[in-house]
């Protein structure tokens, strides 16, 4: 049985709880970004670009059985680290679970500044886009 969205969020909160200062936290985030596999070039289409990010971010979603699988990429490694966490939390869940998900871990691990409504921060757009995919798949 796979982990629930809540369980994964708790895991992330615990992992980030190990860091004393922001630099360690960001080094970990950068590491997550570097480890996230690159999105195959065929999916790096204009259609998959998330608008509203200072760096280009691509998000691809696929339905496997009743679950949605996300893959994503970005030119900026910190953004890629953030996406990597979102994928870990939301990928391989049903559309309904994704739509209902309350992503409280972002605030808990001290990354809520990336949710700010400025044009340079795309985390909010990423979350929105992932939920939009879930909505679109559930309507099919």
């Amino acid at each position: 049985m796979a982990q629930s969205i809540q369980e994964t969020q708790e895991d992330l909160i615990e992992e980030f709880g190990l860091f004393d200062d922001w630099a360690d936290k960001y080094e970990y985030l950068i590491d997550l970004g570097k480890k996230l596999p690159n999105l195959p070039e065929v999916f790096k289409t204009e259609e998959n670009v998330i608008k509203g990010c200072q760096s280009r971010v691509w998000l691809h979603a696929d339905k496997q059985g009743d679950q949605i699988v996300f893959e994503a990429d970005s030119e900026a490694v910190i953004v890629k680290g953030l996406i990597s966490m979102l994928i870990r939390v939301l990928s391989n869940h049903t559309a309904e679970e994704i739509m209902k998900a309350d992503l409280y871990f972002i605030d808990q691990i001290g990354m809520s500044q990336h949710l700010a409504q400025t044009r340079s921060n795309g985390l909010l757009s990423m979350v929105k886009q992932m939920k939009n995919y879930a909505l679109a798949f559930s309507a099919k």
């Binding site: 960001y26 080094e27 950068i30 200072q54 760096s55 030119e75 490694v77 910190i78 953004v79």
Partner: protein
């Protein structure tokens, strides 16, 4: 005149704070400058003691507010050496001023096939308003190219000039890379071909001496907030015969002489272009910003900024893989740079963690970024209140950020 930087810094309350646990280092002055206490006090003084609508009331408060508001206009006139205060139109910002010229001068003067020359250095605010009116009028926009250093190609400019050019709209200084354009020469060349010239002075007003008469500028625009004044105030200077021949822009109160349902006669300059209740408090506070700069002398401030630019350029050049974008011989204290294999956004995020404010991205000059084949850059822009120690801390934080990202 030697500046006492520590004393100057004490005039800017915002600089004295910690950001993410470190003292704030503010290197985003090209986006907006910080405000001295005298400007902040002028705003609060106005609302606490003088608040009234201007120009129409007979009472004491209206009188005081009107006098203070018109005093700013006089100070702006002197600051840019305009011949008369009624050629100073108060707007919401540089963008507002450019749109005003596009929608009035442009509407009255552009016809099918006419050319508007802009440059590859322009901010979107000095591109889009011209595209909008050009589309409406069937006019054509042509672009003066820049070389690898970010310097305008004057030879190409000469070749683009002919009798069909109605307007040349260029910035005095590039916001993204700091190039100072040779506007005196460009204005002469344009005038020789019968074209009018609009100068976007958003990035020059705080740093360079502006004499609209000596330069023979037709239209000059700038924003108060880039001159240590409040946001929401802009200036449009225009030659009298041009402003008088232009139709009004927005309709409403203040801009009229007489209104009836049969028709309206318009007010005189500058009120013809100032419909509605203006941004009274911020206009009044701009006076304090002009006084502040005058008291210290623009020349002394710019000398200090150029010293910061030279030092930062030298220090940044020691970082492996760092490339400075924009190496014009004449620059204001703006450094745009990229680092091999690192996205500007990542650097912006990490530097913020060190309490350092720089700008990353396309800086609202996508065509210029395209020219250099870049999605964006990191931009550090200095003001006279910045210090050499801050540059040292910035370079140290930058090295640490690069290590984290590589």
């Amino acid at each position: 005149m030697t500046l006492d930087i520590q004393k100057i810094r004490a005039d800017f309350p915002v600089l004295d704070q910690q950001v993410n646990g470190s003292p704030l280092i503010y290197f985003d002055n090209a986006a907006t400058t910080q405000k001295p206490k005298s400007v902040i006090d002028a705003l609060s003084h106005y609302y606490a003691l003088d608040n009234a609508n201007i120009h129409r009331g007979l009472h004491a408060l209206a009188e005081r507010a009107t006098t203070a508001y018109e005093l700013t206009r006089t100070k702006i006139k002197e600051f840019i050496n305009a011949p008369s205060s009624d050629q100073i139109i108060l707007t919401a910002g540089t963008t507002g001023s450019i749109n005003l010229v596009a929608q009035t001068f442009g509407r009255a003067n552009f016809s099918k096939g006419d050319k508007i020359l802009i440059s590859n250095l322009e901010h979107h605010s000095n591109i889009v308003p011209w595209q909008m009116i050009a589309e409406e009028k069937g006019a054509i926009i042509e672009v003066i190219p820049v070389d690898e250093r970010g310097v305008l190609d004057l030879e190409a400019f000469r070749n683009l000039l002919d009798a069909s050019v109605k307007l040349v709209a260029v910035n005095h200084v590039s916001n993204a890379i700091g190039t100072i354009n040779p506007i005196a020469e460009m204005i002469q060349l344009a005038h020789a071909h019968g074209a009018k010239v609009m100068i976007d002075g958003a990035q020059s007003i705080a740093h360079l001496d502006i004499d609209v008469q000596a330069l023979d500028i037709d239209f000059f625009a700038f924003s108060a907030h880039k001159l240590f004044g409040p946001t929401g105030v802009g200036v449009l200077y225009g030659k009298r015969e041009l402003l008088e021949s232009m139709p009004p822009y927005q309709g409403g109160g203040e801009m009229i002489k007489e209104v009836s349902f049969e028709g309206t006669t318009y007010n005189e300059l500058p009120y013809k272009f100032e419909a509605g209740t203006p941004n009274i408090a911020d206009v009044i506070a701009l006076s304090a910003a002009i006084d502040y700069v005058n008291a210290l002398s623009k020349e002394a401030l710019f000398t200090q900024e150029l010293a910061l630019l030279a030092y930062a350029t030298e220090q940044l050049s020691t970082i492996p893989g760092l490339k400075i974008i924009g190496t014009a011989p004449d620059k204001i204290a703006v450094i745009s740079f990229v680092i091999d294999g690192i996205h500007p956004q990542d650097l912006g995020v990490l530097l913020d963690k060190f309490g350092i404010a720089i700008r990353t991205g396309h800086h609202c000059v996508q065509p210029l970024m395209k020219r250099f084949g870049l999605p964006g850059t990191c931009r550090a822009s200095f003001a006279f209140y910045n210090t050499f120690e801050e540059i040292d801390l910035f370079v140290k934080a930058l090295r640490r950020s690069i290590n984290m990202l590589q």
